[in-house]
């Protein structure tokens, strides 16, 4: 049992999505795939904990999902492309509100940070 190390593992603030993360986060991401269907988004909203259990999320993963703690979810193997299905159509957020939360900013601060790149 050897997870081979990669040079992309050490990029600060960056969780590159490869085998190790994908294996760990498989239940989270599979659950998110189900949110391509609105009836599943509604089922999740009615009882998030039961819905997570159906897909085999760990307790830690379940809690992070219920808390909408995006950084923690990513650290536990969630991939942002699948998470967006939970955060947008599922939760009423945007990719920007998710990014803002992960960087500890308000959405306005996050937008201002993005705008600032114009001056580079």
């Amino acid at each position: 049992m050897v997870w081979v190390k990669h040079d992309y593992d050490d990029i600060p603030g960056t969780y590159v999505f490869g085998g190790r993360r994908s294996a760990q986060g498989y239940p989270i991401n599979k659950m998110c795939m189900s949110f391509n269907h609105d009836e599943n988004r509604q089922k999740f909203k009615k009882d998030p904990r039961a819905y997570c259990a159906k897909f085999g999320l760990s307790e830690e993963q379940t809690q992070a999902v219920i808390d909408e703690d995006w950084l923690r979810i990513v650290q536990l193997g969630g991939n942002v492309y699948y998470l967006a299905k939970l955060g947008i159509a599922g939760g009423g957020g945007t990719v920007q509100s998710m990014g803002a939360q992960m960087t500890g900013m308000t959405v306005d601060e996050f937008k201002a940070k993005l705008l600032a790149y114009q001056k580079d």
Binding site: H6, D7, Y8, I11, P12, G13, T14, Y15, V16, F17, G18, G19, S22, Y26, N29, K30, C32, M33, F35, N36, H37, D38, R41, W70, L71, V74, N79, V80, Y81, Y82, L83, A84, K85, L86, I88, A89, G90, V95, Q96, M98, G99, A100, M102, T103, G104, F110, K111, K113, L114, L115, Y117, Q118, D120
Partner: protein, 279 residues
């Protein structure tokens, strides 16, 4: 014989799709971006392509981690869009050109490109946002399409060099189709952006500008970028830029830049629209 009349580079950011749905093209925030698409549309109305080959990545509509192809190509009569949970309007379906798709497949697999052949294929925002940016004013898509999906989601994604080489084989395959067809290739995705982690919201304007210059005039140098270098320079999701190299490989040795613009931030992203013609 079929002929590649040009290539278009573009992001495929979902919020562009929403701006189109909400008719915000003339808002001050959006106008500069849509100016770029207006130039691309003028060009495309002049060259009148029959077929578009769209190089894009799926974000979890047609593919999931259960079966993630490195390169997948459509060979379906129809390509449907559908709810992908990103809050986007579902757009109308694209017609495929089944015989043309099979010709590409029958050239590329024997040339050692290990494609996944898709006779049913849902197309997500990665494919349809660029189409919409060009043709949302029409009641129907005026071209047939071949979706060409690249894994940019799950490492190891194909190397930049492999993408360029696959593009070369794609170009040869298109050029050898025995019917007269005009083909435009879209290289979608990028430019620099990162959607998750403490580094979310990273953009690199200097890198994007350099990438635009080199994709036209020195694509071989971009092939040398490792994934780690690309992620450092362009952000985790900036890795999508490898798809521009598939398009560029298909265009051949040298190109003329017909149009180019660059806007940031579009949502979280640096956006570069380019129109290239084989020189």
């Amino acid at each position: 014989m079929a002929q590649i009349v040009g290539g278009i580079t573009t992001s495929h950011i979902p919020s562009i799709g929403n701006a189109i749905t909400n008719k915000q093209q003339d808002d001050p925030y959006w106008r500069p971006l849509f100016d770029g698409y207006d130039r691309a549309r003028e060009w495309i109305e002049k060259v009148e392509p029959d077929i578009v080959v769209v190089v894009y990545n799926d974000h979890g509509l047609n593919f999931f981690l259960d079966k993630m192809p490195t390169f997948a190509i459509g060979a379906a009569p129809k390509y449907h869009n559908a709810d992908e949970g990103w809050g986007l309007a579902t757009l109308h379906s694209f017609d495929g050109d089944v015989e043309f798709s099979w010709h590409l497949i029958e050239q590329m697999i024997p040339a050692g490109i290990d494609l996944t052949i898709c006779q049913e294929m849902l197309i997500d925002h990665g494919f349809i946002v660029p189409m919409s940016a060009i043709w949302s004013h029409l009641p129907e898509w005026p071209v047939k399409a071949v979706p060409f999906a690249v894994n940019t989601v799950l490492m190891p994604v194909p190397t930049a060099q492999r993408c360029f080489d696959v593009g070369k084989e794609l170009g040869k395959a298109i050029a050898s189709y025995p019917e007269d067809k005009k083909v435009v290739i879209f290289g979608t995705g990028g430019m620099s952006h990162q959607l998750s982690g403490e580094r979310a919201g990273f953009i690199n304007k200097a890198f994007d500008r350099e990438f635009q210059e080199k994709i036209a005039n020195d694509p071989e140098s971009l092939c040398k970028l490792s994934h780690t270098e690309l992620i450092k320079l362009a952000g985790a999701e900036g890795i999508e830029l490898i798809m521009w190299l598939v398009m560029r490989g298909a265009l051949g040795k040298s190109v003329n830049v017909v149009h180019q613009n660059y806007e940031l931030p579009i949502s979280n992203t640096g956006s570069g629209i380019m129109v290239l013609e084989p020189a």
